[in-house]
């Protein structure tokens, strides 16, 4: 469904891999290796300096860019909420196409384990974990087909994180979504991932099934990463 062919950009060097529809890929590896940068290439916040990306067999650049970004929902590593209320943030994406349905915030807040009363709260008064959850709900509000999640639960306690994982898994299975998620938590990778992409020094060092690749790592780098 999505294919990277010899892509280089910034820290990324000669990246090639293919993602199938409804795959849940876990993108992991040491800090600074280019995971976030790689996600930017999917929804064309950045374009490859070299190489090409294909979507359903056609160049990614053939898809009108606004449509692409609505279809590929990217959750950034930090919440980056817009000034205003929680509701303002949730409505932002759908409002751009006049497709916001009043009352939808209830469902969205429930996905991320926040109470419906939160909708009128000023985002400046939220905790880091709450902001991260509003940001995830804001991405889900666009009903993307492909979820690109950059450490979506890194600021949450284990319990809340796992609850959100369950919701995500349900959503993905029910609606036949595809997901690429960056995480540093291997337990989360096992619970949520179908496939793994291990990145090291800007390249994909290993690509395989989960949990197999975590149990029998091939490369030295992955072995070391899993031990450390």
């Amino acid at each position: 469904m999505i294919e990277f062919r010899n892509v280089s950009h910034g820290p990324l060097r000669d990246i090639s891999f293919t993602l199938q529809k409804q795959e849940r890929a876990i993108l992991f590896g040491p800090s600074g290796t280019g995971k976030s940068t790689l996600l930017f290439l999917f929804n064309r916040l950045k374009d490859p300096e070299e190489g090409e990306i294909f979507y359903n067999g056609k160049p990614l650049t053939d898809v009108p860019i606004i449509e692409l970004r609505q279809k590929f929902g990217l959750l950034l590593q930090s919440p980056n909420l817009f000034p205003g209320t929680v509701l303002d943030n949730l409505k932002y994406g759908p409002s751009l196409t006049n497709s916001w349905r009043p009352g939808r915030e209830k469902e969205l807040l429930e996905y991320v384990q926040l109470s419906p009363e939160m909708k009128d709260r000023d985002v400046d008064h939220l905790s880091g974990g709450q902001q991260q959850r509003v940001s995830l709900a804001r991405t889900l509000a666009n009903e993307p087909e492909v979820l690109l999640l950059d450490e979506p639960t890194s600021a949450l306690d284990d319990k809340t994180g796992e609850d959100i994982e369950t919701v995500l898994k349900e959503l993905i299975e029910q609606q036949g979504l595809t997901m690429v998620m960056v995480t540093h938590q291997m337990a989360q990778a096992r619970r949520l991932g179908t496939n793994g992409l291990f990145m090291n020094e800007g390249t994909i060092e290993e690509h395989g099934k989960i949990p197999e690749m975590l149990e029998q790592p091939q490369s030295r780098a992955l072995k070391e990463y899993l031990q450390g």
């Binding site: 064309r44 916040l45 606004i66 609505q70 950034l76 994406g93 751009l96 991405t139």
Partner: protein, 266 residues
């Protein structure tokens, strides 16, 4: 009554220069040379412009006014450009904006008979309008650059949700305009209370009736007020789009430039 300052009495102005000179000498600030050069340079510049103005004021209005206004527009454009050199097309945009502002203000003045089309009225008043607009454009450019660099994450978020660059920049444009206009509003609020405006002071010292001086001041203050707003708006609304590529991405080189600039400041 129109007081005259005699040329001999001007020599006593040297006392005003001797004071900073001796401060510099006693505290070894090493500024003596600078103080002398600055004083001499300032004096020469002022006398020079005095003679040039005298010459211009005697010229036919249809030659003198366009000539001097063009010079002011060009100098102001190059000066304001310094605040946004990295941005593409910034010089023509600033120049265009200043021309627009000057032409509209001049048209207003002449249309409603507030100002006569003679060099001695149009040139100094245009100078004030252009000078203030230049400062406002520079402020707007600087502010816009820092807003773009501070809000990079939010811009990425907005673009990722499917926003057009224009929609993604709404917040930045609003903040930039706000920042560029606040000093302007404050200036109008305190006008006459803290400081008598320069032009009015000049007219009163020159022997003009205070009420007459105030009328002129009102015309110029409100003209500046509106031209500053207009020029800040103009430069902001045109320049924001140059922070994006045609693929609706935040400009890569711009980004690198801004990151570099903010690192330099730290």
């Amino acid at each position: 009554m129109s007081p005259e300052i005699s040329s001999q009495s001007l020599w006593f102005l040297i006392i005003f220069v001797v004071i900073p000179l001796s401060v510099s000498y006693f505290y070894q600030l090493g500024l003596s040379r600078n103080v002398i050069v600055a004083s001499l340079r300032g004096t020469v510049q002022l006398f020079a412009i005095g003679y040039i103005l005298t010459y211009l004021f005697d010229l036919n209005a249809y030659i003198g006014i366009p000539l001097m206004v063009t010079v002011m527009l060009v100098v102001a454009s190059f000066h304001a450009r310094k605040k946004g050199k990295e941005l593409p097309h910034v010089l023509p945009v600033i120049f265009g904006g200043l021309v627009l502002v000057e032409v509209s203000v001049l048209a207003m003045w002449l249309l409603f008979g507030m100002v006569e089309f003679i060099p001695s009225e149009v040139i100094p008043m245009s100078g004030m309008v252009i000078g203030n607009s230049m400062v406002a454009m520079g402020l707007a450019l600087e502010r816009m650059k820092s807003e773009f660099s501070e809000n990079r994450g939010r811009l990425f978020a907005a673009l990722s949700l499917g926003a057009e660059p224009k929609q993604a920049s709404t917040l930045i444009v609003r903040r930039t305009l706000n920042a560029a206009l606040i000093p302007n509003v404050d200036r109008i609020k305190t006008i006459g209370l803290v400081q008598l405006p320069g032009m009015m002071t000049g007219l009163i010292l020159g022997g003009v009736e205070p009420i007459m001086a105030i009328k002129y001041q009102l015309v110029i203050s409100l003209s500046i007020f509106s031209s500053v707003s207009l020029s800040a708006m103009f430069v902001t609304l045109i320049m924001y789009r140059h922070f994006f590529t045609e693929n609706k991405q935040l400009l890569e080189s711009e980004e690198a430039m801004l990151a570099y600039a903010s690192n330099q400041e730290k």
